[in-house]
Amino acid sequence: MTVGVFLIFVALVLVVSSQTSRRAGSVGGYFVANNSIHWGVNGVAFAGGYLSVASFLGICGLIAFFGYDGFLYSIGFLAGWIVALFVIAEPMKRRGTFTFSDALNRSFQRPGIQLAAGLSVLVVSLFYLVPQMVGAGVLVEPLLGIPHYWGVIIVGSVVILIVAGGGMTSTTYVQFFNGGLLLLFAGILTVAVLVRGVNTSNAGMEEGLAGLEAYRYANVAAEFGSELIGVDLPGARIIERHATLNRHTGAETLVLYRISHLIPATAAGGGTYTANIKGRSVEFEGASGQGVGWEIEQMDGETYVRIEDWWRLEAMADGAQRLLETQFRSVLPEGGVLVNGALESSSNRLRQMGGVSQLPERYGASTGAIGPLRLLSVFADDNTVVQQPMSVAFTAESGERVTVYYEAQTPGSVFMRPGLMFPLEAEPGEPAVTTLLNRLNFISLMLALFAGTSALPHILIRYYTVPSADAARKSTIVAIAGIGLFYIFTMYLGVGALANGALNMETSNMSAPLLARSFGEVLFAMISGIAFTTVLATVSGLIMAASGAVAHDLMANLVRHEVSDNAKVLAGRIVAVVVGVVGIVLGIAFRDMNVSFLVGWAFAVAASANLPALLFTLFWKKTTAEGIIASILVGIFSSVTLIMLSPDMWVRYGLDPATAPMPINQPGIISIPLSFVVLYVVSLLTVSKSEVPAPVTAG
């Protein structure tokens, strides 16, 4: 059914697109929809284009895994719209015709400005494009059972069809269609979460499989001498101990034991057996376990299979030490993958995690249907304990690459305040400089989100699709209302996914669709389909912006002779195809990064490259063309360079993140002020030489 709904959604998008593509023949029609879009439609299209897969899947996933820190993205993403509305929207519309470089260039008429602005649109669009493409791949992999790269290729192809075929009009209506659907279904899912309420039994049907029962992870007694000597498991042998150390104090923060023990198996005839592995019935051949620790043993007349798995040591409230069952996935040095001690297969996969293990006393085991504010207050309660999914990866003594997944018992009051993803408080033994850098990283991100929105190219081009400055303002207000409402929904979808145990340990991006699945396959199919159209809508806008930048800004200046309108439209269409293909390639290369995180970078580049230029041309009379060009180029170069030198990229290159030359991941706090300073200084230096009359102020 999911496949069917998927196809229906894609078909609907293509119908919307082809129905509106007739008007794309002329320059005005192709690039700015003839200024004919109604402000209400434009407002919803703003929402549909802006609310990307990062907002939908990324933020829900971050809230589900890290609590309140994910919501910080929602807040920053929305706050940026204030700048867009109050400062950018109307002047942008009044001063420009096709692209934002028109507005920058209005008083100067210098090709250099158009070139720099066009370049910045291209760079930011590509940065923003990558996470959208990654999100598309992440979606189709589990949904349609096809590889990640197919999702990227499908999205890329459909978007190329939309943009190259229908230009801005089709893009607008596709975004409008998607914005409406997103709000509607995020609302439906939020209501579903509230009606179900929160319970501690985790009885939601995992993955929509009726046969898969809720699983209680075991918690067994451990006997200690100077070391662990006994475990209350049948036939237990302690194989290995692994401890994670605090980087600063050297104290052990997490202790894991690899334990070989017996679990009951049932002979199924013909040398095959079945065993219950974490609630899943796994079938295997008696001989298949040779070499991976799987052996059939008889004890007291019963059949057992010997299995090796990882247990986590935890001190209980009464001081006793106990071992808690975990999930794990390990890649054997000679090839082959084990999940929870058995070979990975379609019937033996990691289970979803998450849940609420304790509610405030007055609720008992379940809150029942609950109001929206009450739900958030229950989550933030000191007496609520959520099962926050965690993972740790290391290489075991036998050379296996092991990732252990476990649930930390996190108090609700900690989960619902900042700090779990962005370490803001000083940890014991942490050098003061680390604390400072962590805080700077956080401020840097929040600054980029606030300053970046109004400088995003696919947002800026929307101002030119409406007939007047008034309409530009009104549509921005519609956008703020719609987007604000959506971000409030993300909070419920995120905590809902956690509360309903809908967390896929290998990708946080699947939290919202899996939450929907706990309410049934229909909702799951709808949400997944909408997530897919969300990618289409955002990517269309980005490619449209890139297409306009190249055809209107770059080409018009690089080609000496006058470019005909037909040639401009043709160039726009060709650029759409090329950028689409580049996006596909990058989307495949960056597949396993959280999409919100990548989007944070795109905002930083946009804010550094475009915002200073926009603000100065509007509000500072002494701004010179040289200043604008220098600021845009320095903004792009500094933010991209800082990202390339950041610890996260160091991990991507396979290097130790601690050795990265740039100590923080988020470049905004350096590159945004730098770009402002460059604009100011260069303008002052060039103001006397500039023969151009003083620019018209925004007044």
Partner: protein, 102 residues
């Protein structure tokens, strides 16, 4: 280019721009307060505030709700022309793109 825009529109535009900047600054202060609190006193963010919500959630939701309210207030202020100015807004002055098909 500026010459063919009526001066009354210029006045209205200046006024809107001034209101816009003031409201942006006001909102930035509220937003900066939120970031500062998160960075320097994260534990305060867990304290109870209003309606059973903690400070973090109340402040965060508040930033979203305030943004919408600000937007509506701004729109209202933009609709009312200042005394002495013509009631026309600048809607006619937006440059039109390309060929119109209508």
């Amino acid at each position: 280019m500026a010459q063919n825009v009526p001066t009354t529109d210029d006045a209205l535009e200046r006024r809107k721009s001034a209101i816009g900047i003031q409201m942006t600054i006001l909102y930035s202060i509220v937003y900066a307060g939120f970031v500062a609190l998160s960075v320097f006193q994260p534990t305060w963010m867990g304290a109870r505030a209003v309606l059973g919500l903690n400070v973090a959630v109340a402040y965060g939701l508040g930033l979203i709700v305030i943004a919408v309210l600000f937007a509506l207030v701004y729109n209202y202020l933009c609709r009312v022309p200042p005394a002495g100015a013509a009631s026309r807004t600048s809607s006619a002055s937006g440059p039109k793109a390309g060929q119109q098909e209508s």
